[in-house]
């Protein structure tokens, strides 16, 4: 049987200092898979240069000349990490695909662990989950966790907490998600449209770039952009909540009206201020009605928006190659 193919995709922005070592580690991974008789081979490592200005393009060109499996894609301008990842995925051919950052935060040696987890559990997407602190800053790690929890709640998608740029994805699923990803789509949200066989695997991850230079490859503004895109790519929970509040207000106003009319008919002496209750109930009724209608309209709009973003009705996946990988993983254990 033909071997399965593995591709790696690395978006590169101002990462010239790390590229030699990263390619060296990928080369060792290639050798290891071959030596161990793995049913999968690392056939291409795609580096997407996101218009770096630190000489990354020259380093990549040199690496491409030395290693025929290194493929370089150059973007015409700086688009950001996700579009660069999407471009890399759309240039890949592998049955499985690993996305990893260029700054050695994600060590290629862990790819085998990700593959093992995917094969044994029958998964389409395995995220690396940091075992400990990642950013070398309690504030940054804590705020990242808090932010993910908030977005997970808002988006009604608990998997948001597992999202990580070090991920192993089934090739067909990755390419399908990348195909529908527009500039406003959050890639991981798009991946969730195509599979729910997702798991997180704890691995030691450390952001070397920030630990050594105090600078992150993508700054605060990029993180805000990520947050916005994540919400734009989701059916936001508060929309539904707004409709529910509308229903509750409508119900309360109707019940209040019944009570007020009843009091007026049965015990009129109890009504000491005239007009106040009817005014409040009228406002509550129309406020509730408007909230409900607005909630329904926004729900429709949200559904159309997700359709426009490319959420599919269905997608067919072929997992027939997983058995060889699972057998190899069990034999190694």
């Amino acid at each position: 049987m033909d071997k399965l193919l593995l591709s790696t995709v690395t978006p590169v922005y101002q990462g010239a200092a790390f590229l030699e070592e990263l390619v060296g580690e990928l080369d060792r991974l290639r050798g290891r898979l071959e030596r161990d008789g793995a049913p999968i081979e690392l056939v291409e490592s795609i580096f997407v240069d996101d218009s770096s200005t630190d000489g990354s393009a020259e380093v990549l060109a040199s690496l491409g000349r030395r290693h025929r499996w290194v493929k370089v894609v150059s973007l015409s301008r700086n688009y950001g990490q996700h579009p660069a990842t999407v471009a890399g995925i759309l240039h890949s051919s592998g049955d499985w695909l690993v996305t990893l950052d260029e700054d050695l935060q994600h060590r290629p040696r862990h790819v085998v662990d990700l593959l093992a987890r995917a094969a044994v559990d029958g998964r389409d997407l395995v995220y690396a989950a940091p075992e400990g602190a990642v950013h070398g800053s309690r504030f940054r790690d804590g705020s990242s966790r808090l932010y993910k929890r908030l977005v997970a709640w808002l988006a009604g998608n608990p998997r948001v907490r597992s999202f990580n740029s070090f991920r192993l994805i089934r090739g067909s699923v990755a390419r399908a998600a990348a195909s529908v990803a527009s500039r406003e789509t959050y890639l991981d949200m798009a991946l969730c449209w195509f599979t729910d066989r997702i798991v997180a695997l704890p691995l030691p991850l450390e952001e070397i770039r920030q630990a050594t230079s105090g600078r992150s490859g993508y700054g605060f503004r990029s993180l805000l952009r990520h947050a916005r895109r994540m919400l734009v790519s989701s059916q936001i929970k508060p929309l539904r909540l707004g409709a529910l509040v509308g229903v509750a207000a409508l119900g309360t106003s109707l019940a209040g009206a019944a009570v007020t009319v009843g009091l007026k008919l049965v015990r009129p002496e109890l009504v000491q201020v005239r007009g106040w209750a009817s005014l409040v109930l009228t406002i509550l009724f129309f406020g509730g009605l408007i909230s409900l209608l607005l909630g329904i309209a926004l729900e429709f709009l949200s559904d159309l928006h997700l359709q426009a973003l490319g959420r599919p009705t269905f997608f067919v996946v072929d997992r027939s190659g997983d058995r060889a990988l699972a057998d190899w993983t069990r034999d190694r254990a």
Binding site: L5, V43, E44, R68, K71, L90, H91, S92, S93, G171, S172, R175, A176, A178, S179, V180, G310, F315, V316, V317, D318
Partner: protein, 325 residues
């Protein structure tokens, strides 16, 4: 069959004979004609009757021989006249039967032998032969095909292309030749019944018709714009013929059917209606690496070219894009 004759004051004549004026052959002819120096002559070539085809090729050879002899006599000190023959015929497509492939191989032999005779009879001229082959047919089912990959055809069409390449290498002798192994070529095909996936999806998207897809959404292919091929091949044919070689003209950018569908839906601005066939014969992936690229080969963006086809199809149907007045 089209014979192109270049008219340049004080320069030795160059002739290009394009055998098979389908999508690729026509694009090469148009690219040459766009310079304004080439005159085209359409000559008949029958694909069913072998004897008739031989007579038609003999007539072509006679016409070319006259032109080469006149040029050689007229300019003794000038550079030698050139003749380039391009085989771009493909009567039988990817789904050709063994019988169709055999008939096409016989036609190829006749054209090659005619070219060899011309080269022998006009030693003062520089004669070369170009052949359009199929990387898809030769490497079907292989991914990340490199310059070192070995062809392993899976169907009669691929076997035909390999047999043609071997025949060319075996018979050509001292003739300069080049084989262009093309991946999935797309371009505006008008009303031709043999359209590829991309123009079919665009036309059916405009007309709101159902397209049957043989393959799966995950099937990977390598799409190349016919204009890029025409530019490269035309420059190659009219350049100085040298040696013998094979090259792969690929984009090295795999595209899944799903990606193509999504792209065309975006361009057309309408949903595409599709049915998926259970036929597994067309599901094999075929993708290519960049290391197989020949010097000077450039590819255009898929989206740009899809938009160009869409605009052309709209103009042809007299329609306007959704959202346009």
């Amino acid at each position: 069959m089209i014979l192109l004759d270049e008219t340049r004051e004080g320069r030795p004549p160059r002739l290009v004979s394009v055998v098979g004026a389908g999508l690729i052959g026509s694009a090469v002819v148009e690219r040459l004609e766009s310079s304004g120096r080439w005159r085209r002559e359409l000559l008949p070539l029958d694909w069913e009757d072998g004897r008739l085809q031989e007579r038609q090729l003999a007539a072509l050879a006679e016409r070319v021989a006259d032109r080469l002899a006149a040029a050689a006599a007229g300019a003794r000190d000038a550079a030698p006249p050139r003749l380039a023959v391009l085989w771009s015929a493909g009567r039988s497509g990817f789904g050709a039967t063994a019988a169709e492939a055999e008939r096409e191989l016989a036609s190829f032999r006749r054209v090659l032998e005619t070219t060899l005779r011309l080269a022998e009879e006009h030693p003062g001229s520089r004669v070369s032969f170009g052949m359009i082959s199929s990387a898809g047919g030769l490497f079907e089912g292989q991914r990340v095909v490199t310059a070192r990959s070995v062809p392993a055809p899976r169907r009669p069409y691929g076997e035909l292309k390999l047999a043609q390449e071997e025949m060319l290498a075996g018979l050509a002798g001292g003739l300069a030749w080049r084989v262009y192994r093309l991946t999935s070529i797309y371009g505006a095909t008008g009303t031709s019944p043999r359209r590829g996936l991309i123009p079919t999806l665009i036309l059916n998207g405009i007309r709101q018709r159902v397209t049957a897809i043989t393959g799966s959404f995950s099937t990977l292919r390598d799409y190349v714009w016919v204009g890029d091929v025409a530019t490269y091949v035309a420059a190659d044919l009219t350049g100085a013929p040298a040696g013998t070689s094979r090259c792969v003209l690929a984009s090295a950018k795999p595209s899944s059917i799903f990606e193509i569908r999504r792209l065309i839906e975006r361009v057309v601005g309408r949903p595409l209606y599709l049915t998926l066939s259970g036929d597994a014969t067309n599901r094999a992936d075929i993708t290519f690496a960049h290391d197989a690229d020949p010097a000077g080969w450039r590819t255009s963006s898929l989206e740009t070219c899809v938009r160009a086809i869409y605009r052309g199809a709209l103009s042809a149907s007299g329609g306007a894009a959704p959202g346009e007045a």
